[in-house]
Each structure stands twice: as C-alpha cells, then as structure tokens.
C-alpha cells in the first residue's frame, strides 16, 4: 500500500504533465526515496495508482539504471567508470573499494551499509576521479580520501 504521504507527494507531480502515466518516473522516485528500492509490491501499487498495468511500469522501471528493483544498502556508492575518471585512476579506486568493502558491483555489504554500483560520466571530468554517495558528489579522489569519506556514511 502506498502511504498517504507518498500519495500526496505523487499527486504534487500530476499537475506537471498532461497524462497520469507521465508522472510515473516521479512516482518511482518518490517511493524509492522512502523505501530505498522498488519491490514488486510497490511497483503494483504505483501502477494501480497511475492507472497503468504492472508490466507497463516495470518496462519503465527496469529501463532506467537509477530505479532500483533489488534491495540496496543504507548508502549507495555510484563510482564513475567513464573515460576521464578511467584515465585518472578509476580502476585503482574500484579495486580499493572492492577490497575494503568486500563487495563487487551490484552487491551490498553484509551489514547493509553500502551498495556499490558503476555510473556513467558524472560530468565533473576536470576534477576526476569522482563518485557519488547517495546525493553527494565527491571529486579529486584517491584511496586515502575515500577511506575518510566512508566514515561519514554510517
């Protein structure tokens, strides 16, 4: 069931588009913000609320890489694996994170703290390498800086 609060937040976006369906991406974002990911149950509820079939909505949800259809940890690390970051040290950063957290791409730490994912170019190439943790952008990174950074995400 969608909560009243979720419905209210989704409703705020309905006026922005001429069709209900067009608000589905906003709706997925609203629910993901509250529940971290989109379960089958959430998907069915959102689809019903926007008068779509679950399949129609799942076709959308699975197309976009930032709609999570599997559970994620409390914090999501999105590490830029594109060209300028690759030249300036992305492979080393990834190895460092992999060793430190004991997880590869698509996995979540056992304590549910971090999920690690790659992301295309974050558009901050003059300050590569870069990554995002949740909504925060971090740049000019090296392994030492990353260690310090992770401490602030419990």
């Amino acid at each position: 069931m969608l909560t009243e609060e979720e419905k209210k937040e989704i409703d705020e976006h309905l006026d922005e588009y001429p069709t209900k369906r067009a608000a589905c991406i906003e709706a997925l974002k609203v629910v993901q913000r509250k529940r971290r990911w989109i379960s089958d149950e959430s998907l069915n509820d959102i689809a019903a609320y926007l008068e779509m079939t679950p399949d129609e909505l799942d076709g959308v949800a699975t197309f976009y890489n930032l709609v999570f259809r599997k559970p994620v940890g409390r914090h999501v690390i999105l590490i830029c694996d594109s060209i300028s970051c690759w030249i300036l040290g992305y492979p080393g950063l990834y190895e460092h994170l992999r060793t430190k957290l004991g997880i590869s791409f698509g996995e979540t730490t056992k304590d549910d703290r971090f999920t690690l994912l790659p992301i295309p170019c974050l558009g901050t190439c003059d300050r590569a390498p870069a990554l995002m943790i949740d909504d925060d952008l971090h740049r000019d990174l090296n392994p030492d800086k990353i260690d310090e950074l992770l401490n602030s995400y419990q």
């Binding site: 197309f63 976009y64 930032l66 694996d81 594109s82 909504d135």
Partner: protein, 421 residues
C-alpha cells in the same frame, strides 16, 4: 574578450541571484522580446548563425523554423536538454549551477519565439545541486512575473517545470528524451514526423541544449552582428573544457575558432610533467580522435570536419602516452554497449561485439582478423544503419583510433600482452 555565457558567474557569487542577474542586464531581453513579433526573434536567431551546442551542431534558427505558427496551434512545448551524459563533458553543469536565470531567460525567449505555452527542463539525476538551484530560480522567476500567466503584463503565458531523470544516456537523444518525459522507456522515435510538428505528447516541440538556450538572451539584447563578431571563425563564444593528464584541467568560455593548441597548451597549462600528448577527442566520447598534426586546427563546427572529426560538445579529452589507447577504446565501447537502448539490432548486437573484441585485444588475446571485424563494425554501425545517432557516435573514436593508433593494436596482438601493463 566578451563572455556572455559566464560574465555573471565571473562577476558574482554563484549561483548568481535574481537580484545580481537583473543588475547585470538580466531579463532585459524578455522585456524587449514581448514587444516584438515571435517571428522577429526567430529571424534574429536564424541570422545569428547560432548552432546547437549539445553536440550535433544543427542550426538553431533552422530547427525552430519548422514549428507550425498561428492560432491553430495554441499548445506547443519547449524542452531544455540538460541530460548532460556525454562522457568527458562537464559544460552544462557549470551553467546550471552557476547562472540559472540565464537559462530561464533563454528559455522564455525561445518559448516565446515558437509560441510554446509549456516548457520543461530535462535534467539528469546526478546533477543534484543544479536541481536545487534551478527549482529555486524557477520559483523566483514566477514571483517576479517572468513566468506564469501574462508575463510582464503581456498576452503571453508560459509555465516551466523541472523534470529530473532516473539515468540512461539515451535520454540525451532528442526523441528518447521525449519518450522519457512521457513516462516511457527512452527509446528513439521514427522520424518523420519530426518533433517540431509532432513531439512531446504529439504536439509541436523544440528541444534545445542548455548552452544553446543560454546564447539567446545575448542575441536578443545585442543583435546578430554582435553575436557573429564574438567568434573567430563562426558566430558566438563556446564553453571549451579539457580533462585528462594536463596541468590545469578546466572549463573556459572562448571565441569559437580558438585553436585546439591554445586551449590545451594555453588554458589547460599543457601536459603534466612526464606525460606526452598522444591524441584528443575534441568534443566528448563520440567524436573522432585528433592527433599532434591537428593541434593548430580551429575549434569550430566546420574546421574539424576536414580532419574527419567534429566539435561535439567542445570538451576535450586528452589521451597521453602512458595511457593505453586500446584500453581507452575498451572503456568507451563498454559505455556505448551498456547504454544502447536495444531498440535496433545493429546497435544492440554490434556494440557488445565491439566491446568483446576490444577486451580480447586489450588482454592480449586478440587476433589480426579482429581488426578487420572492428573495421567492419565501424562501417555497419555508421550513419544510415541505425535508428539514432548512438552507434554512429560510438564508432567515431574507434574508427579514428584504428587509423592513428593501428601499430598499438597490432603490438597487443603480436606480443599477446598490453605493452602498457
């Protein structure tokens, strides 16, 4: 040197506030424009020779000219493409985070020119700070009467909404973006009909890039001759950026036609100590490599074509001598293969194949005939074989790398190892 795109960012604290924006002449162009006929604005932009700054370089005025005008078409859309996801590109972020009202004013003027009643900014998910700044600026513009009903007591009304995406490079493709805005998968649409006549929700629609729209206030305020005089070879200024192993990576607003050498050696401070220049992608991941002999070429829309490349987004990615070109291509084609939307077969099947071949060569497991296969892909994924420009863009760096760095590919195959490892 005049810098119409970044003068406020240089003069004031960022993001530039509405007050400071107005102090520096902001929104004067809207006041001027609403007393003009929409077609007059269209003519100005057409005569200015402004070309789309998103990467394709299509003339903006020509794009607008296909929009049906008149009372029979009361509902139209203007969409700002702020889905900056071209690898190596970081120019629109600078404008979005720095001077949001410049973009909003550019959008009001452009929407007025085509008589759109609704506008969207399609922003990529990752630009969180920009989203906050743009939302605040939109509210300020409504409060000040620049947006909403009867703008500045004219008969013209416009609503503007910020939409933030949930990822995928395909959202930057014009018709993929329109599908995404409609709450669908961002697959490209068949053309014709073109968006100008049947775009968002089936209505006439113009999609313009952030930097393109930011050029419009200057053109309306100062005119065609002024805009043309800004560039060295073509009209206007351009945001140029450099990333890679240079001393001072960054972004600068410069006259169009500034040489690649001046940008790399002058503004970016040249190569870092211990690194040599080997090549450059002049305008993002989907442009052809330039090498040493091209350094003096002008960075504009026509000059780079004679070397088989193009200006693209104007953000230069440097390949240095200590970075393996095969590994770099493997990284690029991994991106394109991953971002292919799967809608048409050559792209969906061809790009992963390309990636696999490059991976094998990069790992010392390649065969000489793999180079022929790569050449074949460069041809068969080129213009005319696919639904949209993703695959043709993907093979631009590949075809030029095979031309300029052929020895490096052969060395990987002959030695059965990457010489850079």
């Amino acid at each position: 040197m005049e810098k119409p795109l970044t003068k406020n960012i240089e003069a004031f604290e960022t993001p530039v506030s509405l007050k400071n924006y107005e102090k520096n002449g902001g929104y004067q162009a809207v006041k001027k424009a609403i007393k003009m006929k929409p077609q007059e604005i269209q003519r100005l932009v057409n005569d200015s020779t402004l070309k789309g700054r998103g990467g394709a370089g299509f003339p903006t005025g020509l794009k607008w000219s296909f929009v049906p005008m008149g009372e029979e078409f009361p509902n139209k859309y203007l969409v700002c493409n702020a889905d900056e996801m071209e690898p190596g590109t970081f120019k629109d972020r600078f404008l979005l985070e720095g001077d949001p009202h410049l973009l909003i004013e550019g959008m009001i003027l452009s929407a007025y020119a085509i008589q759109a009643d609704k506008a969207y900014i399609f922003l990529r998910w990752a630009y969180k700070l920009a989203a906050e700044i743009i939302n605040k600026a939109i509210q300020e513009a409504y409060t000040a009467g620049y947006l909403g009903k009867n703008i500045l007591n004219s008969n013209y009304s416009l609503d503007l909404t910020l939409h933030t995406s949930v990822g995928r490079y395909m959202c930057g493709e014009e018709t993929g973006l329109l599908n995404a805005l409609e709450g669908k998968r961002a697959t490209p649409r068949s053309k014709p009909p073109y968006p100008q006549t049947s775009g968002l929700f089936g209505l006439p629609t113009i999609v313009n890039n952030v930097e393109t729209l930011c050029c419009i206030p200057g053109i309306v305020n100062n005119g065609v001759d002024w805009f043309k005089s800004l560039g060295l070879s073509e009209g206007g200024t351009k945001l140029f950026g450099v990333s890679g192993r240079v001393k001072k990576p960054g972004l600068w607003e410069l006259p169009i036609g500034t040489s690649l050498r001046e940008i790399i050696e002058g503004y970016a401070g040249g190569m870092q100590d211990g690194y040599k220049f080997k090549g450059a992608l002049p305008g993002g991941a989907s442009t052809d490599f330039l090498i040493e002999e091209h350094l003096d070429s002008k960075m504009d829309y026509s000059s780079l074509q004679q070397f088989g490349s193009r200006l693209g987004t104007g953000t230069v990615i440097i390949l240095d001598d200590k970075t393996c070109p095969v590994g770099l291509l493997h990284n690029l084609e991994h991106f394109f293969a991953q971002e292919s939307c799967g809608w048409c077969t050559p792209c969906r099947e061809g790009l992963p194949w390309t990636e696999k071949l490059l991976k094998a060569i990069d790992n010392g497991e390649g065969r000489m005939e793999d180079l022929d296969l790569l050449e074949m892909h460069c041809k068969r994924l080129g213009p005319g074989y696919t639904f949209c420009a993703l695959a043709p863009g993907a093979v631009e760096p590949l075809q030029s790398a095979l031309k300029y760095f052929h020895n490096d590919f052969e060395e990987h195959i002959n030695k059965k190892i990457c010489p850079w490892r």
